[in-house]
Symmetry: C3
């Protein structure tokens, strides 16, 4: 039973997060997404990728109840895989469009930030890096991707507040590029993906790398320490208590 | 006789610059501010800090008349302490809110830029890095902090022009985050500080460091040369003449 | 027969690109511009420089028909000179104002980005880094200068789309600083140049270097590989075919 669905056609692959009610990320799901993106990278027929979710969430973030049963070492192993995943997506040499179908929270937001373009439903959905609200930190790589998308000032605003932003606010901040009604999201994402798919692939790959490799060079060497600090705070008495009170609705 | 006042209550410390009519920075004042921030950093009861000034100025910048009596070596010693101060504030692992009660000029603006949040009175007060107007340079660390707050393009605009900006203009540029009427400044600053004070302190410290350490890594290795170049220009014939004509009003 | 014209007066030098109908850049023109800027740098009487073009183009970019006769090695030699030119302009310690009199495309846009200030005619002219549209990459240094001017997010938008932007759109994106009617362009550029010329030259030089040297330190070590990758893509079958179909109008 897979936690993602993949469909392809016309040079465009659509990857749909599909795990429970809120697409909460766990270790096997992260592994599946990674394998999927590795295959799509190597598939010559795929010229652009849409990443979306089923239901009211793009992704809730980590599957906290499941991780509460993890040892710290196992959790660090997971975090290492997760941060490697968003770095892989960030640098993947094909265009990736995030079609944010619903709430895009914490780890879900990090995955979205790694993409080349973000379209978000304009209705009730919120986007947030809300870690500070429950006493968690984030990751060095996530911060650099956020600075890349939104600039340093907005990155600080987003992370210090932990606020939930509407699609319109998110667009102002640089978290997303376009809003679309629920009805139009798939069509709009398809249109953007087709536009990207028509670009020369060698030129796109080279330009994407020129834009992003200097950012990745800031991300990668800082990530290991960052993951350990994240875990230290996660397992601290106060944060652990907060985590036990979080309900995935 | 101290050049700063400190009051604490409800987890929030308020540091008020209080030296002469314009809170001009001199060496002993910089030392006092540094000691004060070191104490507040270590004081477990302090969860957020407000930095403000008395009178019509937040700070005029350096006490130029006093520094005109300094030898170049002594001035370099001061500059080294001053640049170390703003770097210390920039990285201090507690939230610092600048409540800009009046004109915020040159070195005063640099101190403000090091804080986590800036509220400025919306009336006649101006904010400026006006060094170029009197033939002075700035510092490498100040430039990186300015880029962090306002982006590279606005940083260049601010520094090349040396212009005096109103609070509203400063907000557009990213120099400040919020404007408040004179009457409301203290209340607004308190509200922001209380909001920060409620955040989990370990998460805040970690996130602040993730945001700012990569910036500090650009600031610190460049600062020594920058201080020497600043002093060379300061003691050049033309700039020295300009400095003698500046009146602290 | 020179491809640029130089006039000086009142401390301001004006360099006018003047080659054919579209000021397309070739190797000898790049060498001439470089020599010219070296002289203006050393000329004590010159306090500010205006870079503009004659006709309906500021510059079309590279003279593609001419380069189609180049060997790959010779083209790499040209690219090395061209990227060194914009880096030289980017760091030149005098104010340089680009007066964009018409279309500012590809390599022409890169030259403009290296300047300290950009004014563009508000009528039909377009500005673009349209390389992706004909299957070409850009250069590492160009990407860093673009990030410096427009921020990472807009840099990505400009490069991924390859779109042609009006002056007004370009101002929103940070590609230019001011728009002017065709009639007023020279006067406006002159006014900006005179304002820069009045700044203390040692302070300006120091501040410009503080702003830009950290950027150049990202540009320079990446440029050699970038030039080779650019040439590999340029000489690829698909892109080579596109290039043969481009007509300089």
């Amino acid at each position: 039973m897979s936690s993602i669905q993949i469909s392809t056609g016309g040079g465009i692959a659509t990857v749909t997060l599909n795990r429970g009610k809120v697409n909460a990320l766990n270790e096997s799901m992260v592994e599946e997404i990674r394998s999927c993106f590795e295959e799509l990278r190597n598939d010559q027929a795929v010229r652009a990728i849409i990443l979306t979710g089923q239901g009211k969430f793009f992704a809730f973030g980590f599957d906290i109840p499941e991780f509460l049963s993890y040892s710290k070492d196992a959790f660090i192993r997971y975090l290492t895989k997760f941060t490697a995943l968003y770095t892989y997506v960030f640098l993947l040499p094909k265009p990736i469009i995030a079609a944010l179908n619903g709430h895009t929270i914490a780890g879900g937001c990090m995955l979205a930030l790694a993409c080349d373009y973000r379209i978000m439903v304009s209705e009730k959905a919120k986007i947030s890096l809300n870690e500070i609200a429950f006493g968690s930190s984030v990751f060095a790589g996530c911060v650099e991707m956020l600075k890349f998308c939104a600039g340093s000032r907005n990155a600080q605003k987003v992370l210090y507040s932990g606020a939930m932003f509407s699609a319109e606010e998110a667009k102002q901040l640089g978290l997303i590029d376009l809003t679309a009604s629920q009805d139009m999201l798939d069509d709009e994402a398809r249109k953007v993906a087709e536009d990207f798919a028509q670009k020369d692939s060698a030129a796109f790959r080279s330009i994407k790398t020129l834009l992003r490799k200097p950012v990745a060079e800031e991300m990668i060497p800082r990530e290991r320490n960052s993951v350990h600090e994240f875990a230290d705070i996660w397992y601290s008495e106060k944060t652990w208590k907060n985590l036990q009170e979080i309900r995935i609705w």
